[in-house]
């Protein structure tokens, strides 16, 4: 067997070693060495992944699964879970871009986090995150995946609230974790059900059981739906998407790594991984996944149109793109989902890093209304950002076009209405990304002098992290970022442009990713029910749509054909008020219910205990009156007692 594949344990081992080393020496290493150490570890991990990848390529297609068991983790009763890694095309694909993009973002962070007091702590978290993410991806059983799943959640929490002195960041971190936990509940119960049904949590064993003995469609449906809950939490699908926009409170590299490229795609990965179960579920289950994805995609796209925080635009865009991937999973286009995941990882990481670079250049200001005309001042950033923009907008030949097109094609095959709505989403995507790019890099600079109007509006806007906008100085000197930040941008821009070649639709031979992933899908991948001609037409429509979106954006934001305010409806700006509804519920009836329960505990449960004591005491006090100190009363008591005894005995005598 290929010894290279057996190196799979090295992939998570590198970042783990990084965590341990940084914990031991982090403060002593100081800046920037701690960052370099972490980056090197990620690089090592990437190299290890590459080696495993090469090893896997060396195998026959049917033998491209290797399980490496390190040790028994939880051997209890019938439950036997190992710490074992599954190296198969799917996991290694994920691992490749996780480590690759991760390494770039680590590198970027060295520059971005320059001067931060907790520099080394940041890299501990980043490495820990990478480790968790790799455990999620590489785990050969659901429980180990869950370990990574929760681990990335925890790291996300730690990183979002990294600048903890700001209450908003702290709240956002907590919100992310708790919302994720809601989803994790679904994952947890799904695991329990899987254990009950299959007697195992190991993927291989589960799938074997499914194939050999089959599984009731109801059970499979239940498992999938529960997993969907989990996936929706992690991948920010409606209605659990509310945490992701807030998560932008974290440092921008975090947003790029966790909340765009890697962690949030875990849900898609999980559903893809569990494709044999989905195949056994009722027909409505994939449809549910699809419609959840579509709803989220459309909703998030509309919201993104009205956001003014650069990172929020990108955040909603991420939510929307994840919706695309869910649609793909739901329509059986697992390859398309993974394809889009990869391309999205490239261009969204790029966009976030670019945004970070902009924010860095703008001294922390994130409001695009105070941007404008930055293209001159931040040439590399703007160039790469544009590449990302074209990719996400679906302009050929950039990567986003290929992956999105494939999803649209499958959606068309599944349901025409779905396709129309998804196409509309794609158009919206092009529109709001155009808006973002135009407002940021082109047009007149709006950052030259303090704009009272904007400030006033800001303070009314609850969603904005006020700290940045209100402390904005009137005059800024936007500047390009250091090389540690720009190199990742360039690399990612390159990938965003060319990643489409991974999976070209022309012939099945160039369908590289599809062929590569085939062993992991066990023949459960969907097929397009129409021929190449239809595909060409659909692609053309998609291209037209994208260009239409771009031109509409240009029309609004350069030509000012329509007042932007009419598009940026407050309802959209406030994210359909979902967040408010949740907050109001939690702060209102939810909190009241909690308070009632607490009152119940204090007054009823504890009250009953104290009341018992009081009652006994009161009874004692009452009885005390009988102890009057008067000897004749006592004698009366004796006499009454005597009469009572006599009365008892006379009843026994039967007189």
């Amino acid at each position: 067997m290929g010894t290279l594949v057996d190196l799979v344990w090295l992939i998570p081992a590198f970042p783990l070693a990084g965590v341990l080393m940084l914990m031991a020496l982090g403060r002593r290493l100081g800046e920037p060495r701690a960052g370099w150490l972490a980056t090197a570890m990620m690089g090592g991990s990437f190299v290890a992944t590459l080696l495993v990848f090469i090893g896997l390529v060396g195998h026959e297609g049917d033998e491209r699964e290797t399980v490496l068991t390190l040790f028994e983790w939880v051997p209890a009763g019938k439950l036997a879970v190992d710490i074992g890694f599954l190296a198969d095309p799917l996991s290694i694909t994920m691992a490749l871009f996780v480590t690759g993009v991760g390494a770039l973002i680590h590198l970027y962070s060295i520059g971005y986090m320059h001067g931060d007091a907790d520099f080394s702590r940041f890299f501990i978290y980043l490495n820990l995150f990478a480790f968790s993410m790799l455990m999620l991806v590489l785990g050969d059983n659901l429980l180990l995946t869950f370990l990574g799943w929760e681990g990335v959640g925890a790291c996300s929490y730690l990183l979002i609230s990294f600048w903890f002195t700001d209450e908003a960041n702290a709240s956002a971190g907590k919100k992310a974790f708790v919302t994720n936990r809601v989803g994790d509940w679904g994952f947890l119960v799904a695991m329990l059900l899987a254990f009950l049904t299959f007697g195992s949590l190991q993927y291989g064993e589960i799938f074997f059981e499914v194939e050999s003995h089959g599984v009731a469609a109801g059970t499979a449906s239940a498992i999938v739906v529960l997993l969907l809950v989990g996936a929706a939490g992690k991948s920010a699908q409606f209605p659990l998407h509310i945490w992701l926009p807030d998560a932008m409170a974290g440092p921008t590299p975090v947003s790029a790594l966790i909340h765009a490229a890697t962690m949030v795609t875990a849900g898609v990965y999980l559903l893809t991984r569990m494709n044999p179960i989905i195949a056994e579920a009722h027909g409505w289950v994939p449809d549910l996944i699809m419609w959840v994805g579509l709803g989220t995609a459309l909703m998030a796209a509309t919201i993104a149109v009205a956001q003014n925080d650069i990172k929020k635009v990108l955040a909603y865009s991420t939510v929307s793109q994840l919706g695309f991937m869910f649609v793909a999973v739901g329509s059986g286009a697992y390859v398309a989902a993974i394809f889009h995941m990869v391309t999205h990882a490239f261009f969204k990481a790029l966009l976030f890093l670019g945004a970070g670079s902009v924010i860095h250049g703008m001294d922390g200001d994130q409001d695009i209304r105070r941007y404008g005309g930055l293209a001159r001042l931040l040439p590399i950033t703007s160039m790469t950002f544009v590449a990302g923009w074209l990719a996400i907008a679906g302009v050929p030949p950039f990567s986003g076009f290929w992956s999105k097109d494939e999803i649209l094609a499958y959606a068309y095959g599944e349901n025409k209405v779905l396709w129309v709505l998804l196409l509309a989403t794609a158009i919206l995507t092009a529109f709001y990304m155009t808006r973002l790019v135009l407002m940021t890099f082109f047009g007149p600079p709006r950052w030259v002098s303090g704009d009272e109007h904007v400030n006033a509006e800001d303070s009314a806007d609850a969603d904005e992290p006020e700290a940045h906008s209100e402390t904005a100085p009137p005059h800024r000197h936007p500047h390009e970022s250091p090389w540690t930040m720009t190199i990742p941008l360039v690399v990612l821009a390159g990938l965003a442009m060319v990643a489409g070649v991974f999976n070209l639709p022309f012939t099945s031979d160039v369908h590289f990713l599809g062929n590569w992933l085939k062993p992991s899908l066990f023949g459960n991948a969907g097929h397009l029910p129409f021929g190449g001609g239809t595909q060409w037409v659909l692609a053309l429509v998609a291209i037209v749509g994208s260009l239409g979106g771009v031109s509409a954006g240009a029309a609004v934001y350069i030509r000012r054909r329509i007042d932007p305010a009419r598009i940026e409806h407050p309802f959209l700006a406030r994210a359909w008020r979902i967040d408010e509804i949740v907050t109001n519920f939690m702060g209102g009836p939810g909190r009241r219910a909690f308070e009632r329960t607490t009152q119940f505990d204090e007054q009823v449960v504890d009250g009953a205990v104290n009341a018992t004591g009081t009652m006994i005491r009161r009874g004692g006090t009452k009885l005390r009156v009988s102890q009057s100190g008067l000897v004749r009363s006592y004698a009366l008591g004796i006499a009454i007692g005597a009469v009572a005894l006599l009365a008892w005995f006379i009843s026994r005598a039967g007189i």
């Binding site: 008067l630 009366l636 006499a639 009454i640 009469v643 006599l646 009365a647 006379i650 005598a653 007189i655």
Partner: protein, 189 residues
């Protein structure tokens, strides 16, 4: 004859008893008690307990009641007690109920039950006409009940010691606290 004596004596006994309970003056009460005791002695005779009848008169009427009167005189506690008021609420009502209860229950028990077992022989000692009542009592007293008889010695010792202890003159509390070590004063009995 027995009936007549019983009725008369019962009347005396009850009247005396009521006298004790109802007399406002302790001296009158003590004298009523004498009446009861006297009636009781006659009843004892009626029941052929001659020795006890004598002892009843001698010990009770002669000694105990005199002791009562002596103490009444000594302490001058012959103040009249106002029987029209009862400081303790409900005491009399409850006492009445208890009295009725005790009496009623006792009568119920007494009149409906057999005394002893049919055909049973006297377990302590038969009452015969062969010996005098005194002799019969003495026989039992100095044989079967000799332990009890000796025990009465302890009883009498206690009453003597007790009377002495209680009648000690003791230094006033304030003085005693000033001189707590003055123990010799108390050791003179």
């Amino acid at each position: 004859m027995e009936t007549a004596v019983f009725i008369v004596c019962a009347a005396i006994v009850l009247a005396g008893a009521l006298g004790v309970v109802l007399a406002r003056n302790p001296v009158h009460a003590a004298l009523s008690l004498v009446g009861t005791l006297f009636g009781m002695a006659v009843l004892f005779l009626n029941l052929e307990a001659h020795f006890l009848a004598a002892v009843q008169i001698i010990v009770y009427a002669g000694a105990i009641v005199v002791l009562f009167l002596f103490v009444i005189m000594l302490l001058g506690v012959d103040r009249l007690e106002d029987l029209s008021v009862e400081p303790i609420t409900g005491q009399r009502v409850l006492a009445g109920i208890v009295g009725l209860g005790t009496f009623g229950l006792a009568v119920a028990f007494l009149v409906t039950s057999d005394i002893g077992l049919p055909g049973q022989e006297a377990l302590t000692g038969p009452i015969t006409d062969q010996y005098s009542n005194l002799r019969q009592i003495a026989d039992v007293l100095f044989t079967d009940y000799v332990y009890a008889f000796e025990a009465t010695a302890a009883l009498l010792t206690i009453s003597v010691v007790g009377a002495v202890v209680m009648s000690r003159r003791i230094a006033r509390a304030d003085q005693a606290q000033e001189a707590p070590e003055s123990q010799e004063a108390a050791r003179d009995d």
